[in-house]
Structure formats: structure tokens, C-alpha cells
């Protein structure tokens, strides 16, 4: 039987073995993404950890690629930036205006399109309603143009962390089948890993 793992790729917390254990126990999240810091060493749960780094700070990874850590290269979507994001693994979207153009330009490159839930946590009710409606549309576009739709907590403190049940509630509200979402995300990560270790 295939095991589907729950994933939160976008936390802004500082990695510790204890934190990973706690999050697994309390929130039932199997795989966590952390921003990489070059001081991290002896990461115990390396198979459950994904480190994130931006294009500009990739050189800071150093020998850690050889230590067996898995890195995802990320960037923030900015329509007016001239940065070529075709090599980026995961793109963080803050503002969905004009994202349509982006779908057409980078379609088929299997880029992850990530939305942080912490960005919209304190929105007013009308904006939350619009966010859910926008997400439905974006999810459809992601399927059409071969992007991976990703929801992450964006947690910078513990109260912003989400359990798998809350993630599933978000997905259900966006009309995404939860099992399919987790399965697709697992497959996407495995694809990225196999390319990474080539």
C-alpha cells in the first residue's frame, strides 16, 4: 500500500529535531519545509525535511548538498521582475493579479505554485471569500498548465501551524479532493528529488 505523506513546505520556523517530532505528534504533518541556514548540521530527520533556498543564496548551501539534504529552489512571484524563473522549483505567490500571464509563459515546466495561508489569516471576511474563489480558479489553471498547486502554512510562530485536518478543510473548501492533493504533492516532490539526486 502506498503511503501518502502530509506536507507543509513553507514554515518560517527554525529547524530543531524536537520541533519536527512535536509537529508530527500534534499536527500529523509528515514532511516540513524550512528556510535553509548554513549553521544547520546533524539534521536527524533529514528524510522528513526539505530545505528551501532562494536563487540568490544558493551558493550558501556549500557542502550540504553532499550531506544528503534535499533543497528546493524558491522565488517570489513578481510580474515586474526580470528574473527568469524557469529553473525555480517553487514559486511563492503573494499577489495573484496578472498571474495569468505567468501561467502561459512558464506552462509545462512543473513549477510548484505556493500560497501561504498566513498571508490571508487576518483578512476581512469579504477578502477571505474572494481568496477562496481565486484559489478555485488558480487550481484549475495549475492543472491546465501543468503547475503543482501548493498550500503552505507560512508559519512564523507556533500558533500559525496547521494540522493536516485544517489543511484538508481548506482543500475541501477550494473543491480539491484531499487524497488527490496529497498524492499529487508527494509525486511532485519525488520527481523533484529524483531530478535533484541525478
Amino acid at each position: 500500500m502506498k503511503i501518502i505523506k502530509t506536507v507543509d513546505l513553507g514554515t518560517r520556523l527554525v529547524y530543531s529535531d524536537r520541533l519536527v517530532e512535536s509537529i508530527k505528534s500534534l499536527f500529523d504533518i509528515d514532511i516540513l519545509g524550512f528556510d535553509f541556514d548554513k549553521n544547520y548540521d546533524n539534521v536527524f530527520y533529514e528524510s522528513n525535511i526539505i530545505f528551501r533556498t532562494s536563487c540568490t543564496s544558493k551558493k550558501n548551501i556549500g557542502n550540504n548538498e553532499k550531506n544528503g539534504y534535499f533543497f528546493l529552489l524558491g522565488s517570489i512571484f513578481d510580474l515586474y521582475s526580470k528574473e527568469n524563473v524557469s529553473n525555480v522549483d517553487i514559486l511563492n505567490i503573494k499577489d495573484i493579479r496578472d498571474v495569468k500571464f505567468f501561467f502561459k509563459k512558464y506552462g509545462g515546466k512543473n513549477i510548484g505554485m505556493e500560497f501561504l495561508l498566513s498571508d490571508m489569516r487576518y483578512f476581512f471576511g469579504d477578502k477571505i471569500g474572494k481568496w477562496f474563489s481565486d484559489m478555485k480558479w488558480i487550481h484549475e489553471q495549475c492543472i491546465k498548465y501543468d503547475f503543482q498547486f501548493i498550500l503552505s502554512s507560512g508559519a512564523s510562530n507556533y500558533s500559525e501551524l496547521l494540522s493536516s485536518k485544517v489543511f484538508n478543510a481548506f482543500l475541501t473548501k477550494i473543491n480539491i479532493e484531499t487524497k488527490k492533493y496529497w498524492n499529487d504533492l508527494n509525486c511532485w516532490l519525488n520527481d523533484k528529488k529524483s531530478l535533484y539526486w541525478q
Partner: protein, 119 residues
Amino acid sequence: MTLAKKKFRYICIYLVRHQHEDNDQTLVKFKHNFYSRFAEIFGQIDFYSSNIRFLKINELSPEFVIIKCKLEFVDMLLLSLYFTSSTILILNVSGTIKKMKKRILKIPHYINDGGLPLG
């Protein structure tokens, strides 16, 4: 004619007490935030249909708050909890209080041992 039995779910949250407030004051503020957020996002009709109740369980530490609601409104309740401005951790969803208690009794070990430095 048989009436279908209503199903409920129990949601456990960990409510972080504010400085200069006791647990009751924090809970009152949280309830106010939570109710208004639920009604704001999902509307008054769903709010009243969800039959939300706060349960007091003596064996548990006051930081653990149990909320009961109708099964079909669990997702709405979880989302409203997430959108509430109070500092909380949404921990468990369970079908019975007995199961919920069992799970909660395992939790303090993780929180108090410095796994999650709260408060």
C-alpha cells in the same frame, strides 16, 4: 418513522493565556473573536445551525478547550478557528469525548517539555 441520529465532533484547541489575564478572561475574549469570525465568514445561518458548544471538562488543564459542533460543520469551524486572532493551537478532532480525553492526556508532555515554547 425513525429519526436520524445527529452526529457531532469534538475539537480540542490549546488556548494560550495572555499576560495580565486569567484563563477565564482569555476564554471570553477568544469566544467573542471566534463567534464573530465564524458569522463574518460563513454567515449567521450556518453559525446557528452548527450548534457550537464549549465544554468544560474538569480533569483537563484550563488551557485545553473543547468545542462541540455538528459533524457537517466541522470544516467551517476549523477554518473559523484558524482565522481567529487569538493565539491558539488547533489540536485534535474526535468523534467522542472519551477518545478526545485520551489524546489530550498525551499532549502536555510535548508542549511542556519545550517542544513548543508557547505563551
